[in-house]
């Protein structure tokens, strides 16, 4: 049946077929469709999991095994991190890498090769994956790992569903003594200070910062650095000892309706940012918090994305190489500043080195911010893309809904090599999304057009 579907940014909205499967057999039948793309929980922001024929994995979501001694979890790809946490936390384990929401599937975590606040220490999610089963276009299911069918494994991690459907995954967990985080927040008066703080606190397990993109003048780039370490039991107040491994509550508030888009004007945004910055009165705050508000502050309000109104929004996330990060951030923040309707707050983070074959992170700073969709936005973002490219950076595919193909092919250094492997398993482009079509990944002529087009930037 045709359904209106959009991902988290509510842009674009399409009307198309959404199929479900519960067993391997049901899945096989869908391989006869002209093309398909796997869809997890639709928490990517743009069109990565949209297409004419979408295959939801949400009913293929069974836990398979949990080795409590070794901390190894195996499940089907449609299982939500939310469910996994409920199982593993009481036994003293945590996700090795976690995004800013627990409402994503394991398949989505692998296909986007997600990163968390601990990227500089623990890398991306796929670093912790032991083995996956992938159904490819020829109808075979390959069990692959860094050792076995390694090529397929590498191309599937961060491969945006284009090598096939991930069916099952086995991955390593992180040991915890409690489900609480020893949390320190430090206010930084401007961009220079926050970049210094990131360097100083590189040894911390979890770091990220909220940065005010609208502030001009002396406080340009003012931020709050958020750091965390898994809390040991002796750090907890006595009354918490009996619930040291408590999981997150399952209740939440729902965002009632789409907000009218005039709600988000430069004035309300600036007011909000001021409030956020000044609520931390002291320079430094030290607390013990549960993992839920620490990792998933936005999950408390279901469908907060409706706050951006009917037209939706774009989350713009880029990364710049460490050498050009400072210069590039100043340049880009100034442009955003001038444009004037950047989001309430943006997230800034320092990535560590990344060994992934085809993924977003690289050593350097990444910034993510929301822009409500409106006239002129896409022209502005196209300009911003060129700037990011010139500094040697790139955009996160799982957040993208509008990048031009040229930008993608130039900014992902292994795009060609990845494409060659991907094509072997994706014969006839059986797996294709609106994004892969838009970026000319799954269109026939891209080979010559973008051959050796990697571009290393002119500003570095």
């Amino acid at each position: 049946m045709r359904k209106k579907v959009a991902n988290w940014g509510n842009y674009p909205v399409i009307e198309s077929e959404l199929y479900h499967f519960r067993t391997d057999k049901e899945l096989e039948n869908f391989l006869t469709l002209p093309s398909i793309i796997a869809r997890g929980n639709g928490r990517c922001y743009g069109d990565s999991s949209l297409s004419s024929y979408m295959l939801s994995t949400l009913h293929f979501n069974k836990a398979i095994s949990f080795d409590i001694e070794k901390g190894i979890f195996t499940c089907e790809a449609g299982m939500l991190l939310d469910d996994i946490l409920q199982i593993i936390v009481p036994k003293g384990w945590f996700l090795p890498v976690s995004p800013g929401t627990k409402y994503i599937t394991v398949g989505g975590a692998i296909a986007s090769n997600i990163h968390g606040k601990n990227h500089h220490i623990d890398g991306t999610f796929c670093r912790h994956v032991i083995e996956i089963d992938v159904l490819t276009a020829d109808g075979n299911i390959y069990t692959c790992s860094p050792q076995q069918h390694a090529e397929l494994f590498q191309a599937t991690c961060g491969g945006m569903g284009l090598t096939g459907i991930i069916l099952r995954a086995k991955f390593k967990l992180k040991k915890i003594e409690t489900s609480y985080i020893d949390h320190i927040q430090i206010k930084a008066r401007d961009l220079y200070e926050i970049l210094d703080l990131f360097e100083i606190y590189q040894h911390c397990t979890y770091t990220m910062a909220w940065i005010d993109c609208l502030k001009q003048g002396k406080q340009f780039g003012r931020s709050i650095l958020m750091m965390g370490e898994p809390a040991d039991k002796d750090k907890l107040k006595h009354h918490l000892h009996s619930s040291a491994l408590s999981t997150h509550p399952t209740n939440h508030v729902s965002f009632p309706v789409n907000m009218p888009s005039f709600f988000l004007n430069p004035f309300t945004m600036k007011a909000f940012n001021n409030l956020f910055y000044w609520k931390n009165i002291r320079k430094q705050i030290h607390t013990i918090v549960h993992y839920d508000p620490f990792f998933y502050p936005l999950d408390k309000i279901l469908h907060w994305n409706k706050g951006y109104g009917k037209k939706g929004f774009i989350q713009y996330q880029f990364v710049l190489p460490i050498e050009s990060s400072q210069k590039g951030l100043i340049d880009i923040l100034k442009r955003i500043n001038q444009y004037g309707t950047g989001s309430f707050l943006a997230v800034l983070k320092l990535f560590g080195n990344d060994e992934s074959f085809f993924s977003f992170p690289m050593k350097g700073y990444t910034l993510a911010l929301d822009f409500p969709v409106k006239k002129g936005l896409f022209t502005f973002l196209d300009q911003l893309d060129r700037v990011v490219l010139d500094y040697g950076g790139r955009l996160y595919l799982t957040k993208d809904a509008r990048m031009q193909p040229e930008i993608f092919w130039k900014s992902y250094p292994h795009a060609q090599a990845w494409h060659e492997i991907m094509r072997k398993y994706n014969t006839g482009y059986k797996f294709r999304s609106m994004q892969s079509d838009r970026l000319e990944i799954t269109s026939p002529h891209n080979q010559e057009k973008y051959a050796s087009s990697t571009y290393f930037g002119s500003h570095i």
Partner: protein, 243 residues
Amino acid sequence: MPVALILGATSDIAQAIAKQLAKENFNLILAARNIDYLKRIQHDLQVRYSIQVDTVYFDAISFDQHEHFIQQLSVFPELVILCFGYLGNQNAAEKNWEEAYKILSTNYLGAVSILNRIANEMEKRKKGTIVAISSVAGDRGRKSNYLYGSAKAGLTAYLSGLRNRLYSSGINVITVKPGYVATKMTENMSLPQILVASPEQVAKRIWKAIHGRKNTIYVKKLWLWIMFIIKIIPEPIFKRLNM
């Protein structure tokens, strides 16, 4: 720990019920035809809740196997939840007896065949609860699904008789009329969302009904009113409606 038997355990509603019961510390016996699928559900429940879960092959329309099915159970359950059902295709069933028979036999005969045996056993033990998923479609026959509806009407009547019989033995029988539920059965229908319940809502309601020893439940209250209106429309008018 108490034991519950779920018949038709691969359905979406059954899976939600299994989770609900696991949370209430039941051990489970899951019965259905698709053993591979059952095993996956079994492992899932074991990993999630560390409870004991057994799986058994069960086919609602292999009536002659039902006695053996009961005999082979390692423990006799104090709670039985009947979740199997077959919506079928009304149009096809009007022309094709096989489809009609499949609808009638799965939803009615199969249920009667297995519940007769379970009821006798429970009556002997003077203990137990039977929950069966019937349907609002059984409240009044409509042209769009009266084969399914008539089978469910039969089931509903059977359950009220059974309730009446087993009352004196202290056994409770609960008839569940879920209305629309977001499951595989309704995946390809466009339904008014306020009338659609989630399988988890159904499971919660059922657990409350077991606890409160209820007789007949609708999951969403609105259905009670809708079916009340549908039932009171006089037949001379009803027969002209497009329902």
